[in-house]
Assembly symmetry: C2
Homo-oligomer: 392 residues x 2
């Protein structure tokens, strides 16, 4: 498969290694560093495609695992592919389903050939191989597609993580060979858990095969924040400078800033939209819970200088009222705000890198933004994953 010239690197911060670039896709240019909102089931939760575009977002993530189980790859095919099905003419990246099989599906069995798993929706049994993961993603038709990988858990032993990594390498090669379409770019996923030696090995092996982009997988799964960042730093340093680098599953404002500082170009996470639906809204001082009584009489918007639709239109008191009344509009207005906040953050980051002031920007951001307690965040995510990880 011809290696597409899918990434233009514009500028690199000489101090930190933070980068500004551009992804070139059949559905438009995507400036990097970029955050991809998650639309696993073919919809960024609560929003129409027009709203996603209105925020300024140019690329979204969808999920092969979810779409394969429902509505089924064949249905999306009949509807003319994923772009048409979800009425989104911007760029799309699909994850292969690897992470979801290992985090959502019960009763999975892995062999070199592939992975057998049960649907988290109805318990039905399915078999996924690297070849099928590519075939499905070619039908969905995203602009960037991902190899099938085996994800380790945070508490897995060195041997177990190593075994999963080796299998991920073999699967990456099979994915490359299975690729038929030449208008999609395929990214490899570097594994190796929290073991620097394995991360190095994985980066070296996969870059030697030559992919169009490189993702760092298997992080942000419960390990302490310093470990995540150390692994990112370790791995990113081994990746070719002219290819995009994608840190999977990371998306809090504070983590994005740190990731960019370590040379990451692409982020995705359900966090900004998930916490929005819980009433946690981003401000430049940290997250605020709009359900708090302090907002019940606040005539101003939550973030007065924010020009998202929500802050331009409604008082914090109204948003508070919608959340207390459990009105569906609440979840949507909060989602719009949080995605616009992240989008504004990415714009500020890009400007800072281009003007050579990224380090100062990062210090300023850290001085003001009080991150959410890590343990609280982890507990919340586990609770959320658990609530989903059952037959319906």
């Amino acid at each position: 498969m011809a290696d597409l010239n899918n990434f233009c690197l514009r500028q690199t911060c000489p101090v930190s290694g933070a980068r500004v670039g551009e992804l070139v896709t059949a559905h438009g240019l995507v400036p990097t560093p970029v955050f991809l909102p998650v639309g696993s089931q073919g919809t960024v939760k609560t929003l129409t495609p027009e709203e996603v575009k209105g925020i300024g977002l140019k690329m979204v993530l969808a999920n092969t695992y979810h779409l394969y189980l429902r509505p089924g790859i064949e249905v999306v095919d009949r509807m003319g592919g994923l772009h048409k099905f979800m009425a989104w003419d911007g760029a799309i990246l699909t994850d292969s389903g690897g992470y979801q099989v290992f985090s959502l599906a019960p009763l999975r069995r892995v062999s070199d050939e592939g992975v057998t798993f049960r649907s988290h929706i109805d318990g039905s049994e399915h078999f996924l191989t690297p070849e099928l993961a590519i075939q499905y993603q070619e039908v969905l038709g995203a602009d960037i597609i991902m190899v099938l990988d085996e994800c380790s858990a945070y508490d897995d032993s060195f041997e177990k993580v190593q075994e999963a990594m080796v299998r991920t390498h073999q699967w990456a090669e099979r994915c490359r060979k299975a690729q038929r379409r030449d208008d999609q770019t395929l990214y490899a996923i570097i594994q190796g858990g929290v073991f620097p030696q394995l991360r190095r090995q994985s980066a070296e092996y996969l870059t030697s095969l030559g992919f169009s982009g490189y993702a760092i997988g298997g992080l942000s799964v419960g390990e302490p924040k310093e470990v995540t960042l150390a692994m990112v730093e370790e791995t990113a340093a081994l990746l070719p400078g002219d290819k995009p680098r994608y840190l999977m599953g990371v998306g809090s404002p504070e983590d994005i800033v740190e990731g960019v500082a370590r040379g990451i170009d692409i982020f995705d996470s359900a966090l900004p939209t998930r916490v929005a639906r819980n009433g946690a809204l981003f401000t430049w001082q940290g997250r605020r819970n709009i359900r708090n009584a302090a907002f019940s009489r606040m005539e101003q918007s939550l973030v007065p200088d924010c020009d998202c639709y929500t802050c331009r239109t409604f008082s914090a008191a109204y948003l508070h009222h919608l959340f207390k009344s459990e009105e569906l509009l609440a979840y949507r207005l909060a989602t719009i705000h949080n995605l616009k906040f992240i989008h504004d953050l990415m714009n500020k980051i890009r400007s800072a890198i281009l003007s050579g002031t990224f380090s100062a920007f990062k210090e300023g951001f850290r001085a003001n933004y009080r991150p959410t307690d890590e343990q609280a965040r982890f507990n919340q995510k586990q609770k959320w994953l658990k609530s989903r990880n059952r037959f319906k």
Copy 2:
């Protein structure tokens, strides 16, 4: 209080008595017959004000009972009134809270002075009088406000219904006297249950007092459809021709057509938005459940000639997928479709009356539209009311 010239009657169908007119409000002209979408808590469920306006709707209904309990009348006052609070610059009608006290609140006690009730949210005790109902509605600042009435149940005895009616009359007079603002129009509510004699008495008494408009209350609460229509016919015939007539709580397509044929100008109901969230979408042949497997591969929109945002943008298969996946966007897209359908129906009705073809329109509509089974509909509504009528 000066009687505002708030209604211009444009044309009356000589055969049926169906009317075309215009409500004149401080927030714009509202062509009648008109359907008001329900936004009890200061939001038409799932929609932004822009979307409501985009559908073409010019007036919405909000509820004193709900807004009094949460966020509280005083909060809306601090935020500059209801229009500003919910960012809606079109017209608003507020119901007084009478119907909600008698349908939602547990443990109510009625006296001539007023009604004591417990909140359906937290069980707290409250006291509402005609004077307070007006005072609260003047603070909320709707364009049309309603008197406080006592609603009977469908199975109440003649004596009980009569007693409630007499009290409603006394309360209507007190509401008139309590009115201070001269930029809001006050409508009386005719009661009398399913007893023609009482309906006549109520219409005669209240019209003799001279209100700016007349609502028919206490119908669509479980009685058979023929009884509803007989009561509407009976009552409307006794109302002055130059004042608007409002049939409260009625809003299925088939009932609207019948109501218009009996001289009704204004309708409101949560039905179109409530059933939308259940996946029941209006077509010109009747309601369709989008969850039905028949729609899982339908490339066209549900109603191909519909130009609502939902039908213009998405296939029936996508909407089906969103409902099966319990995605929040589903409820919103269905709400947009159903409200646009009702809005289109009102436009067709007005055109037909103006061109002298309303009877033919009505017959054509009835020949195509298969109404939902009445008992099924009633059961569904009771189930819904029951699910709400508890402490949270």
